[in-house]
Amino acid sequence: MGATATAAPRAPRRLLRLNLAAKHALFGYAILLPTVAILVVFRFLPMLQAFWISLHEYDLIRPARFVGLENFIDLLWDPLFLNSARVSVAYVVFSCVPVWVLSLALAVLFNREIRARNLLRSAAFMPVVMPMVVNALVWTFMYHQDGVVNTILGWFGIDPVPWLRSSTWALWAVIIIGIWRATPYYMVIFLAGLQAIPNEYYEAAKIDGASAWTEFRHITLPLLKPTTLLVMVMSVIVAMKVFAVPLIMTGGGPADSTRVLPLFIYQTAFEFFKMGRAAAMSVFLFAAVMVFTLFQIRLFSRGED
């Protein structure tokens, strides 16, 4: 900027530059403002308010009553809350681990030249395309006692499973949907990660006569580590937030077996109108999400600038 202005007197030039810089800064602030305003009002303010409400008893009708930490203390002794925390942990663990394995395996297989690759890959990707509510509806149908899932299990000699009507099986039914929907999503992320690995590594391995497994173990896996970590964190966060599917399919039942934490928060707030209670639970959920998101942001910004 201004490289030809060597002959110009010093002071005015500096003034001009300062002016320009200030103008640019002003423009920068101006175009950032709408985003900051929306995020402050609809994300940060609610979070602060969540802490505030969590210290009150509030049912939307009568004025809020300050109760201190009572909501939190009550929660620690509330079997329903503890149950729902347990259900959430089970959901996260049993849906995420299979998703990691399956999505990585699919990405590796689809990264090779195979017959009808694009067609198969598109078919495998389709679960991501289906809207959440439709997903819940169609699977409810498929989990029917005489439905398609039990019919297919029957081909392998497995007796019909009372999916959504049994407190033992309902959570598994919901977990299976979670796996079905999440696997292709992370497969895409893994595929992007795989494509970033330079081919020379594999060519070198071929010359050394390495087996497919050795290649995977010593080239793919180490070089894919950043992607893998990211997928792990992302999938855990997404799984912690799940609740449209159990809400529609089971409403949390039978016998509270699918009442994941976000669903319990929703019901406490908007079915039982205990806003303070629900906010206190939100604080717990927030803490859990925060731990993983901070981790995610660190992964995101590593190697930046």
Partner: protein, 276 residues
């Protein structure tokens, strides 16, 4: 089979991929085929895989029972508005954070990033109270404004804008172009791939939105398609054919989006997991 794959390990892998493709498509097939079955044939033992006789009435019947046209238009309008907002605001914010120098830039960026830890599932109770204070329940504002921008979009655009050389912007300034003109006529067109990816990603999420409308909408005229479908499910639980017909129609826009913008669709997801 010998031409398909070279050896037995390959065959096993291929069968596995075929099974995955089958499982991926099964719910779609089931939805479509059940929407064309008669209610009597819905749960026959053994199962009826191909509708016989074919029942074409479900689509019309469902449409007559509830105002699905309205729900459909509501969902579409809201998704378009949210997508447009995200594209504009996220690219403006990303541009600002990437190409301008000012006090507090790093802190503001961190602040925007950190909203990713405040998902709706955590903030729904107070967000509802705030929207209630604004008198926005049962309004389009209430459904749209809180989601006009989010941290992920800003992050994505900022990352992408890094690849656009500063010299280009400087040159336009020297030519006397105004800042807004530079943004709309030079920067935005260069961001097309990122905008397409973010657009499809956002549209999909907005079309999918369920919990928030469920919380703030009670008026029938404001119901979105997901709300309409879940309501239909709880009140007409035995009209199976109609349920599946409605589900099929609700899925159609996403399928079209996927087929016509497949690259952007997949790109949006791939980017959500990459740091560059």
């Amino acid at each position: 089979m010998g031409r398909l794959v070279r050896h037995r390990g390959g065959l096993v892998k291929y069968l596995f991929l075929l099974a995955v493709a089958f499982v991926g498509l099964l719910p779609y097939y089931w939805m479509l085929s059940c929407s064309l079955k008669t209610n009597d044939n819905m749960f026959l033992v053994p199962l009826q895989w191909i509708p016989n006789p074919v029942n074409w009435n479900a689509y019309g019947d469902a449409w007559r029972t509830q105002d699905f046209t309205r729900y459909f238009l509501n969902s579409g309008g809201i998704a378009v508005a949210i997508t447009a907002g995200n594209l504009l605001l996220a690219s403006l914010a990303g541009y600002s954070l990437c190409k301008f120098r000012y006090f507090g830039r790093g802190a503001l960026f961190l602040m925007i990033l950190s909203t990713m830890m405040l998902p709706l599932e955590v903030t729904m109770v107070p967000l509802f109270l705030i929207v209630k204070t604004l008198d926005w329940p049962n309004t389009y504002e209430g459904l749209i404004v809180p989601f006009l921008v989010d941290g992920f979009g800003v992050f994505l655009m900022r990352q992408y804008l890094k690849s656009i050389p500063n010299e280009l912007i400087e040159a336009a300034r020297i030519d006397g172009a105004s800042e807004l003109r530079i943004f709309f006529q030079i920067v935005m067109p260069l961001c097309k791939p990122a905008l397409a990816a973010l657009g499809v990603f956002t549209f999909r999420e907005a079309w999918d939105m369920y919990i928030w409308p469920l919380i703030i909408v009670t008026k029938d005229s404001l119901r979105t398609l997901p709300l309409g479908i879940s309501l239909f499910m709880s009140s007409f639980g035995t009209a199976w054919d109609q349920l599946m017909a409605v589900a099929t129609i609700g899925t159609l826009p996403m399928i079209l989006l996927f087929f016509f913008l497949q690259r952007s669709f997949i790109q949006g997801i791939a980017i959500s997991g990459l740091k560059e």
